[in-house]
């Protein structure tokens, strides 16, 4: 009689745990459905991010190309000529024997 009572008490104690486990499993199932659903549609987002990344790399390359073109000697020479610069053929060298300034008396 005593043993039966003990089993009934134990059975009553396990009920909330069982309910909790079932609830937890249900929660995980729902979570899985939600996550799977999100993952399923994230492929599109990944593609968009990759396209954006490609676009940025492309812009970077284009800018690098423009910088290289703009800083080429051919372009600099043309621009300097249009601004009136000329080639210095006969430079004048200041002799190191002379001081930069002379004192007037």
């Amino acid at each position: 009689m005593k043993l039966r009572k003990k089993i009934v008490i134990q059975h009553q104690a396990k009920l909330p745990i069982r309910a909790f486990l079932v609830g937890f499993i249900l929660l995980l199932l729902i979570l899985q459905v939600v996550v799977s659903n999100r993952i399923a549609i994230s492929g599109n987002q990944i593609t968009q991010i990759e396209q954006k990344l490609d676009g940025l790399k492309q812009s970077n390359n284009n800018l690098g190309e423009k910088i290289a073109s703009a800083s080429s000697l051919t372009v600099i020479r043309e621009k300097s000529l249009s601004l009136g610069f000329t080639k210095n053929i006969t430079p004048y060298y200041v002799s190191t024997n002379l001081p930069v300034a002379l004192e007037l008396h």
Binding site: I39, A40, N44, I46, T47, G64, A68, S69, L73, T74
Partner: protein, 558 residues
């Protein structure tokens, strides 16, 4: 009973057929089906590496990459192939028949139409919205400085498999380092072709090619190319070359040759202009070679500066007579005057004093007859004759640079050693190799031998300065500077004899003589205005030198 047996037999036959078919799918077609399935749920992508950049010594870009497109067609999707090829051929400037033939090949799902199409043309095609026309990004070499230093840089073409490959110059020599390593990506995809976040993925990352930084100074390169162009026009030469080297490091600061080509349109030029003649061609150096022979004789103490030679007429060697260039004879000459007057009989005297064995030994010391080791793909050399085959006339003619062939880079390297206290440097084009991970390899200057001792180097320098100050080209020299140099005029061997009308006029020298910043070799082939180096190559050398003095800020007092 017979009905049951009949139905049973029917079942057995049906099952047997099914088993046979399954066996067929599982054993014979399994690979194909696995591939087909894999194609359905896997996305495969080749990750191509970007080819490395080539930069000048100031970090400015000489060669880089730009985006281009591969234009391709999917014949199964094209409705009217004739109209398709008509439209595409006009925009891509291709033969319509070629496109038609490609489209009409049976069982072809994908055909390439044209590689390396620029963005503008690609946009034009995209705007047509042609069904079955596709575009794929690819990389194309881009030259911001156009054809500057083309023969030094080389170009990128295709190999047998249609992949990019560097040919000639730096592109050829450093092809492996420049091209990098391609990778690939295999990734699980969903029904709409998008990647699955937690799906399978296999990735072998690509490695971009290494970047090269050169010793080349683009300003110096521009100066020598401009002057060479003017010189060729002025003196009516068929070909010409200029090479500038830093004698202390062996770094090549500039290198130009004409005729040249545009590396972005290399296919439009004759393939003969692709190799760089400064490293790939040999020539007879003529009197410029006298500096090396004189240096060898001084170093061996076979002669000294004050040794006298009586130039009283032609020297007879066997059945041959060795004359001066103008058939005029100057009597008593010291060694310095032999170089000033560029006396051929005087050099025969010097070579005889030196002796055949020592002469050949010094040819080896100066690197004549062997590759310099310069980092350019097409370097060649000519061999020196075996010692026992040298006759007296061979020694005599070689003493003034005839009957012996060198490459311009060998000549430049040898004279640079005189400017660098006798240290023979390995000529180098690339100074630094770097990759995207920050790894840097610096190529240090490399001494590969000693030609003469320091004292001899000083003596020969003074003699070369005297040859410039008192020689035939003194009128062209910039005033106030000490420049060491020597003119050369070599007849061109044609079918076993020398053509007196055809010469290679050259000048080699360095400046400032006592603290050399650069060594320059100038050579003009068959100049029409005058055959002499003193009237063609020398003024061109001095024009370049003047500009380099201004560029480097070297005053006459330096």
């Amino acid at each position: 009973m017979w009905r049951q047996k009949f139905v049973l037999l029917g079942f057995i036959i049906c099952f047997s057929l099914i088993i046979c078919k399954l066996f067929y799918w599982q054993f014979f077609k399994s690979g194909e089906l696995a591939n087909a399935a894999s194609n359905q749920y896997y996305f495969k992508l080749n990750l191509s590496a970007n080819r490395g950049q080539i930069m000048a010594n100031d970090g400015s870009v000489l060669v880089t990459n730009k985006t281009a497109y591969l234009i391709y067609a999917e014949p199964k999707k094209i409705e009217d192939k004739n109209s398709f090829s008509n439209t595409v051929s006009k925009i891509l400037d291709l033969d319509k028949e070629i496109i038609n033939n490609r489209l009409n090949q049976s069982e072809i799902f994908w055909v390439p139409i044209k590689h390396k199409v620029n963005e503008t043309t690609c946009e034009e095609l995209k705007n047509l919205n042609l069904k079955g026309l596709g575009f794929e990004k690819e990389s194309q070499r881009y030259y911001p400085e156009a054809s500057l230093a083309a023969q030094l840089l080389g170009f990128v073409g295709n190999n047998e498999s249609g992949e990019d490959k560097g040919y000639f110059g730096i592109e050829g020599f450093y092809d492996l380092a420049l091209k990098g390593k391609s990778g690939f990506l295999i990734r699980e995809k969903d029904a709409s072709g998008n990647p699955i976040l937690l799906g399978d993925e296999k990735r072998i990352p690509f490695e971009d090619g290494q970047n090269l930084e050169l010793y080349l100074d683009r300003s110096v390169q521009t100066i020598i190319e401009d002057n060479l162009k003017k010189g060729i026009e002025k003196y009516g030469a068929s070909e010409g070359l200029v090479a500038v080297m830093d004698p202390i490091t062996g770094g090549i600061i500039g290198m130009a040759a004409t005729p040249s080509y545009d590396p972005s349109k290399f296919g439009e030029y004759d393939a003969q202009v692709y190799p760089n003649p400064i490293v790939a061609n040999t020539y007879e150096p003529g009197s410029t070679f006298k500096t090396l022979v004189m240096a060898a004789a001084l170093n061996e103490k076979a002669v000294d500066v004050q040794t006298k030679f009586n130039e009283e007429g032609p020297i007879k060697i066997g059945q041959y007579y060795i004359r001066t260039w103008n058939d005029k004879y100057n009597g008593q000459l010291n060694m310095s005057q032999i170089l000033e007057k560029s006396s051929n009989p005087g050099m025969v005297f010097v070579a005889n004093k030196l002796g055949k064995d020592k002469f050949i030994e010094y040819l080896n010391k100066f690197g004549i007859g062997k590759k310099t080791g310069i980092d350019l793909e097409e370097e060649a050399t000519s061999e020196i004759k075996a010692k026992d085959t040298w006759s007296d006339i061979d020694l005599a003619t070689a003493s003034f640079g005839q009957g012996i062939a060198v490459t311009p880079i060998q000549m430049l390297q040898a004279v640079a050693s005189l400017a660098n206290k006798g240290n023979l440097m390995e000529p180098q084009i690339v100074k630094k190799i770097s990759d995207k991970n920050g790894k840097v390899i610096i190529k240090n200057p490399k001494i590969i031998g000693t030609t003469v001792d320091q004292k001899t180097a000083k003596m020969i320098t003074d003699m070369m300065v005297s040859a410039v100050d008192n020689g035939d080209a003194k009128w062209a020299k910039p005033k106030g500077y000490r420049i060491a140099g020597k003119t050369g005029t070599a007849q061109i061997p044609v079918a076993g004899h020398y053509d007196v009308q055809k010469t290679i006029a050259s000048f080699v020298g360095f400046a400032p003589a006592d603290k050399p910043k650069f060594v320059i070799l100038v050579a003009l082939r068959e100049p029409q205005s005058s055959p002499w180096g003193s009237e063609t190559a020398a003024p061109l050398f001095f024009n370049i030198t003047k500009e380099l003095f201004t560029y480097y800020g070297i005053s006459p007092n330096d």
